[in-house]
Amino acid sequence: MATPILEMRNIEKHFGSVVALAGVSIEILPGEVHCLLGDNGAGKSTFIKTMAGVHRLTKGQMFLNGQPVQFSSPRQALDAGIATVYQDLAMIPLMSVTRNFFMGREPVKGIWPFRFMDMGFCDRITREEMKRIGIDVRDPGQAVGTLSGGERQCVAISRAVYFGAKVLILDEPTSALGVRQTSMVLKYIDMVRKRGLGVVFITHNVRHAMAVGDRFTVLNRGRTLGTAARGEITADELQNLMAGGKELADLSSELGGTV
C-alpha cells in the first residue's frame, strides 16, 4: 500500500466539557476519494477543521507523508498542501470573482515597494479555470454575490485545485447544488483524483458518495465506526451505519422504503 499523504491517528478534540471528537483515525492515500460520512453532529466539520489547521488537536497525531506535523494556523495547512473548501465556501460576496479566487494567495509582480497584484493574470486564470468546469464567468470583475450558489461552489473548488493542493477537503460540496451541477462537481472530483490528489469528500448523501468514493469512513458521535473500501459495502449499509442502523430500518419500512 502506498504511504498515505495524510494520516490522522486517534484525533480528539474537546471544546470545554464537550467532547466533539473522541478518537478519529483515517488515512488519505494519493489518488483516492475518501468519503467521510456522518449525520449532523457526528463531528465531520470539527474533524476537517482539525485537518485544516483551524482547530488544534486536543489529543492525537497527524502525519503528512509519514512525517508528524502540527498545524497552528490554516495558513500552515495550506502551505503544506491541505486545502479545504468549506460549506460557507470562504467566499466574500462583495468582492469580485477574481479577488476571491486569489484571496490569501495573490500573485504579485514587480520589486518592492512596487510589488503589485497581477490583476491581468488573475482575471485570465480565473476565467480559464472556471471555463474548465463549465462555469461561464461572464466577467471576472463581477462580485461573487451575483453568482448562483452552485457557481460559487465551483469557484471555491477550482480555486483549491488551482493552488496545487495535495489533499483536497470538500465539506458537503454537493449539498446545495442542482442535479446538473452536482454531476459536474462529481466529475470534477474524479478528475482531481486522477491527478493524484487525495480527496476528502464529506457528505451525508450516500448516492453522491458511492458515485465517486474509493473508500468510506463513517463517523458517529465523534468516533469512527470503520472504513470500508469500494465494493465491500452497499449504499444501504452505509446509510444504516450513518443513521445508527436500526431506527432507520424501522422508519424505512414505515415509509415504504423511500429513505
Binding site: I92, L94, M103, Y188, K194
Partner: protein, 375 residues
C-alpha cells in the same frame, strides 16, 4: 493541466459577454462622491463669489479639506477592513500634545519629536487594535472609550506641561533651532513650490500684488501630503496583496482567515495606520498654528467617517474606496469654506453635513444592491 479539457466538456457557451462600460462605472464605489463633488461645484459656481474658484480660493478650501482628507484616508481603509476608529479626533489632540511637549517642554530636536509622536500614536493604535481583536468587542465601543480617554489625557497633559493652561505655545520658535530642524520643518509646515509660484507670477501666469509678489505664495504643504497619501493608499488598496487582504478582512473575517489571510495583523496594522494619520494631522496643524490646545481635532472622527461614507465605504466593511473618501473630504472643505464666499449663514454647514451623510448612505445602498445582485 490539459487533461482537464478532455474530462469535462468545455461548455461552448456563447453567452460570454463583457460587462458594459456603464456597469463598470456603476460598480465604482467612489461614483457617489464624484457625483456629489459635481453637484457642490455647480452649486458654488452658481451662488458663490467667483473668487472662490481662483487659485487663492482653491488653496483656501483645499487646506482644511487636506487635513480632514488625511484622516479620512485612514478612516476609509479601516472601514473597508471592517472596523471603526472613533478616537482619531482625540488622537489628533493627544498627538499634538505629545509633539508640542517634546519640542517645547523637553526641548527635543524636530525629527526626534516627530518620531516620538508617530511612535506614541502607533502604540495607541496598536493597543486599540489588540483590544478590539482580543475582546471581540465592536471597535465602535472600544474606540468610543478612547475618544474620551485621549481627550481627557490631552487636557490633563496640557495642564501638566504648561502649569495650568490648556494651550501650549512657542512650538514654531522651538522647532527651528538648527539647520536640520529648519529643513524638516519645511516638510511639515508652510508652502511648497514657492519658487515656481514666484516664477509664474513673474510671467503673469498667476495673480500677483503690485510689488510683484504672487498672491498665492505656494501650495500649502498639507495638500501635498494629502494628495500623496491618497494616491499611495488608493494604489495599495486596489493593486496590492495587502489591499486585497483589507477587503477580505472587512468582507468576512472568517472566510478570509480560512483562506490564509492574516486578518488580525491586517486589522491591527489598519488601526496603527489610522492613528498615524491622526498624528500627521496633529504635526501639520500644530506647526502651522505654532501652538496646540485641547480642542484640536474636535469631532474630526465623525467628519472623517462621513467623508469615508460619502466616498462609498459601507458601514459593514469590505467595500469602499480611498479616492472616494478623499473626494468626500474635498466636498467638506468646499462647503465649509465655500459658504463664506456666499451670503448664506455659515452655520448651514452642519445641516449640510447631516444631509449629505443621509444622501450618501441612501445612494450607496442602492448602488451596492445593483452591483452585487443582493436582494
Amino acid at each position: 493541466m490539459t487533461d482537464k479539457n478532455s474530462l469535462i466538456e468545455t461548455a461552448a457557451d456563447e453567452r460570454l459577454k463583457h460587462a458594459s462600460p456603464l456597469t463598470r462605472v456603476l460598480r465604482r464605489p467612489e461614483l457617489g462622491a464624484l457625483l456629489g463633488l459635481v453637484i457642490v461645484t455647480v452649486f458654488f459656481l452658481a451662488v458663490a463669489n467667483p473668487v472662490m474658484f481662483e487659485l487663492s480660493g482653491i488653496m483656501n478650501f483645499m487646506a482644511p479639506a487636506a487635513q480632514l482628507g488625511i484622516l479620512a484616508i485612514g478612516a476609509s481603509l479601516l472601514m473597508v477592513g471592517g472596523e471603526f476608529d472613533l478616537s482619531v479626533g482625540s488622537m489628533v489632540a493627544f498627538a499634538g500634545l505629545i509633539f508640542a511637549a517634546c519640542v517645547v517642554t523637553f526641548g527635543m530636536s524636530l525629527p526626534v519629536a516627530i518620531a516620538v509622536t508617530f511612535a506614541c500614536a502607533a502604540a495607541i493604535g496598536f493597543f486599540n487594535g489588540q483590544l478590539v481583536i482580543h475582546t471581540g468587542l465592536p471597535s465602535f465601543i472600544v474606540t468610543l472609550a478612547f475618544l474620551f480617554v485621549l481627550r481627557g489625557l490631552s487636557l490633563v497633559g496640557l495642564k501638566w506641561a504648561t502649569g495650568g493652561a490648556t494651550q501650549l505655545r512657542g512650538v514654531r520658535e522651538a522647532a527651528t533651532d538648527t539647520p536640520l530642524d529648519a529643513f524638516i520643518y519645511k516638510l511639515f509646515a508652510g508652502d511648497a513650490f514657492e519658487g515656481l509660484f514666484a516664477w509664474l507670477a513673474a510671467h503673469d501666469w498667476i495673480a500677483k500684488f503690485p510689488n510683484g509678489q504672487p498672491k498665492v505664495t505656494g501650495v500649502p504643504i498639507e495638500i501635498l501630503w494629502f494628495v500623496g497619501l491618497a494616491a499611495l493608499a488608493a494604489v495599495v488598496l486596489s493593486r496590492t496583496r495587502y489591499g486585497n487582504w483589507i477587503f477580505a478582512s472587512g468582507g468576512d473575517p472568517n472566510a478570509a482567515r480560512n483562506s490564509g489571510v492574516p486578518t488580525r495583523r491586517v486589522k491591527t496594522s489598519l488601526f496603527v495606520l489610522t492613528a498615524c494619520c491622526a498624528a500627521l494631522v496633529a504635526i501639520l496643524t500644530v506647526l502651522d498654528a505654532g501652538s496646540t490646545d485641547a480642542r484640536r481635532g474636535f469631532q474630526k472622527e465623525f467628519e472623517a467617517i462621513i467623508a469615508a461614507v460619502i466616498g462609498g465605504c459601507l458601514l459593514t466593511g469590505g467595500y469602499g474606496s480611498v479616492v472616494g473618501a478623499a473626494v468626500g473630504a474635498v466636498i467638506f472643505g468646499m462647503v465649509l469654506i465655500g459658504l463664506t464666499y456666499t451670503t448664506i449663514d455659515q452655520d448651514w454647514y452642519l445641516v449640510f453635513l447631516g444631509g449629505m451623510l443621509l444622501m450618501a448612505v441612501f445612494f450607496n445602498n442602492i448602488i451596492r444592491k445593483r452591483v452585487t445582485g443582493e436582494r
